[in-house]
């Protein structure tokens, strides 16, 4: 039983950032803008957020600091994503180009600033956010052990973000308009929807969530930030495509990947896996191979937004 709890707790660390960022990517892509810059935005969010923690950790403590840092990361991610929105919406640029530029910029900028300011590349922080047991809820048998022990507050923030984001895109007027802009912007425009505005909002939401995803990834898995989020932005894009641009499938994809990742990185703590005569690299490859195989089965009917990646040109309507 303890092993099961351990796996679930670990899975949260990996799945929650993927979930948040992939949901963000969904907002951009369903509005019609491919956001390949998620990786760069995550790095940027994590960089500023962790710097914030590292500066204020002596004067502040615990959960409030973490929540403030998450807010800072989100704001930074949103602002950074404006660059992508401007290029792809106003300038009708090739969206992979500006996305790639942002992906290149963020880690270089993080290293440059960190080394210019403090001399070293790593930004260290003290993990004062770990919760060994949530009061009251942690005492519930089974469920308490699964979800309310050895955790971080970000797990619950992440799930809340997911629920809100999934609800908004499915059930609100704004969500409907956003989806319309990704499928047929001409039609949306003809009934008075401001396509540029909606697409801006989609990209900004993706930026905010990717920024948050960056810090959410770094805090539980490390005690310093080294200008990288280990390719999680790209994995989030994979989760997004794997989840067929639909929020409920993205949830499943993120947790599928999270579990795979947990098994591959924490296999040595799981007795029956550790006993197998398989080297660590095989375990590391496993999540990616499993995703590829699954994709081969589910991709035949791709449900990608139809107008994705195509700049909207009023004169072409």
């Amino acid at each position: 039983m303890n092993i099961l709890y351990f796996i679930i707790q670990q899975t949260m660390y990996f799945a929650i950032p993927l979930l948040i960022v992939a949901i963000g990517g969904m907002y951009a892509e369903r509005s019609g803008v491919i956001n390949i810059a998620l990786e760069g935005i995550m790095v940027m969010g994590a960089f500023v957020g962790i710097s914030f923690i590292s500066i204020f950790q002596d004067s502040m403590n615990g959960q409030l600091l973490l929540i403030l840092a998450i807010l800072v990361s989100g704001v930074v991610g949103g602002i950074f994503s404006l660059l992508h929105a401007f290029a792809s919406i106003n300038m009708k640029a090739d969206q992979t180009i500006s996305g790639t530029a942002l992906n290149m910029f963020a880690p270089a900028f993080a290293i440059y600033v960190a080394r210019m300011v403090q001399g070293t590349q790593q930004i260290a922080f003290t993990d004062t956010f770990y919760i060994s047991k949530v009061p009251v809820l942690g005492d519930i048998p089974v469920i308490g052990d699964m979800f309310f022990k050895n955790c971080y507050i970000i797990t619950y923030i992440g799930i809340a973000i997911y629920l809100v984001a999934a609800y908004v895109i499915k059930n609100t007027k704004y969500g409907l308009r956003l989806r319309a802009c990704g499928e047929h912007p001409g039609a949306a425009d003809s009934v008075g929807v401001n396509v540029a505005k909606i697409r801006y909002s989609g990209v900004i939401v993706s930026g905010v969530l990717a920024g948050i995803g960056g810090i959410v990834f770094v805090v539980p898995t490390s005690t310093n930030f080294n200008a990288t989020v280990a390719g999680y932005g790209f994995l989030a894009i994979a989760v997004l495509i794997f989840g067929q641009w639909r929020s409920n499938k993205i949830l499943m994809a993120a947790f599928f990947f999270g579990i795979m990742k947990t098994l591959s990185s924490a296999y040595s703590a799981i007795p029956f896996l550790n006993a197998l005569p398989v080297s660590s690299e095989i375990y590391k490859m496993f999540p990616y191979i499993a995703t590829l195989v699954l994709l081969a089965f589910v991709s035949k009917n791709s449900q990608a937004p139809k107008a994705e990646g195509i700049p909207y040109d009023k004169s072409m309507r």
Partner: protein, 364 residues
């Protein structure tokens, strides 16, 4: 005819403007971080490879070689409408195959050995490319996601194979390759005064020419480009688009794989490291391809340009700057390249103004 020339002129000047804007952004960055040394540091970037005379130029060519290859790989796939983000994995696969053959197959005579290494790299890269190609053509799996997955699989697999076959345990890296597997310096190191340059750059240039010929002068290249422009139209015209998708990524993979061989057989003291990092050369290739607007000749110059300011970035450290400034500048240039519409309209407007003025003069 004149119209086409003007379009080319505008396109080229838009690229030059993008580069200038990127450099300007870099200068401002240096000014903000350290005003007293900014001018010196910036001059180092602009002088780039010319700072150290012939050795500097040789180093530019050495740095440019692998990223020209990955740039070609990404650019070639772009032409078929595919985004080969998997160039990193193909690069790593090629690098491993070359180094493996370079260490183990010492029974081959000198001269043949290095060629077999290169062929092994090409095959390994192509093999790494065929997976996303088949998945895309027959299972409709986005090549972006399968490319990303293949990058990670490649990274772990290469680490595993290095550790079990050609491992130097003390240094956590691959063993050195045999003398017979190192690319010939061809006397270039004498011309360029001790730089790490070797035959690799010549092979890269040959690849540029080959890719140019395939894309511009053959039916096969025409079909590839047609698939990239409009899949449905080309299907209707009787082009086998599935075969073309697979071939396009396979060739792209072969190019990236060869790039890996050229870097690790250079005899410059670079070894395959056992690290959990996806090869950065593949991602550099994306910016090279974008800077060169997927045109083989453009990619050659873009690769040389990035090699040039990379050397400048190393020299800049003399003045206390961090060499990552170069990556920031490249990112700014790529971003400005995305804004080419803005630049193009600016240039057109400028031309119109000039023409109007001339017309007025003639009238007067």
């Amino acid at each position: 005819m004149k119209k086409i020339n003007n379009e080319r002129f505008v396109g080229l000047s838009a690229s030059v403007l993008a580069i200038l804007c990127g450099l300007l952004f870099g200068f401002i960055l240096l000014l903000v971080t350290n005003p007293s040394q900014a001018v010196n540091g910036f001059l180092m970037i602009v002088q780039g490879g010319f700072t150290d005379g012939m050795k500097g130029i040789g180093d530019v060519l050495y740095y440019a070689t692998p990223i020209i290859m990955t740039g070609l790989s990404v650019g070639f796939a772009f032409k078929t409408g595919l985004f080969n983000i998997g160039a990193s994995g193909q690069f790593a696969a090629g690098a491993f195959a070359a180094v493996f053959v370079g260490i183990k197959w010492t029974f081959l005579p000198a001269g043949i050995h290095v060629i077999v290494c290169l062929i092994a790299a090409i095959l390994a890269g192509a093999l790494w490319g065929i997976v996303p190609g088949l998945l895309k053509a027959y299972f409709n799996v986005s090549e972006v996601i399968s490319g990303i997955m293949m990058n990670y699989i490649g990274m772990s697999l290469v680490n595993l194979l290095i550790r079990t076959s050609i491992y130097d345990q003390l240094k956590n890296q691959s063993l050195p390759v045999a003398e017979t597997a190192v690319l010939s310096k061809m006397g270039l190191n004498k011309v360029f005064d001790g730089a790490n340059i070797n035959a690799g750059i010549i092979i890269a240039v040959i690849c540029v020419i080959l890719v140019y010929i395939i894309l511009e002068k053959t039916t096969f290249g025409f079909e590839l480009k047609a698939c990239g422009l409009n899949t449905n139209a080309s299907k209707y015209a009787g082009i086998n688009e599935k075969r073309n998708i697979v071939l396009s990524i396979v060739i792209a993979g072969a190019l990236a794989g060869l790039g890996g061989a050229l870097l690790y057989l250079a005899g410059s003291g670079k070894f395959l490291q056992v690290l959990d990092v996806v090869a950065p050369e593949g991602f550099a290739g994306i910016s090279v391809a974008l800077l060169g607007s997927s045109n083989p000749i453009g990619i050659l110059f873009a690769g040389l340009f990035i090699g040039y300011i990379t050397v400048g970035g190393y020299n800049m450290q003399l003045y206390g700057f961090v060499s990552e400034a170069i990556d920031i500048i490249i990112a700014a240039i790529v971003y400005c390249g995305a804004l080419s519409l803005l630049f193009k309209t600016l240039i057109y407007k400028f031309q119109m103004k000039k023409r109007n003025k001339n017309n007025k003069k003639e009238e007067a």
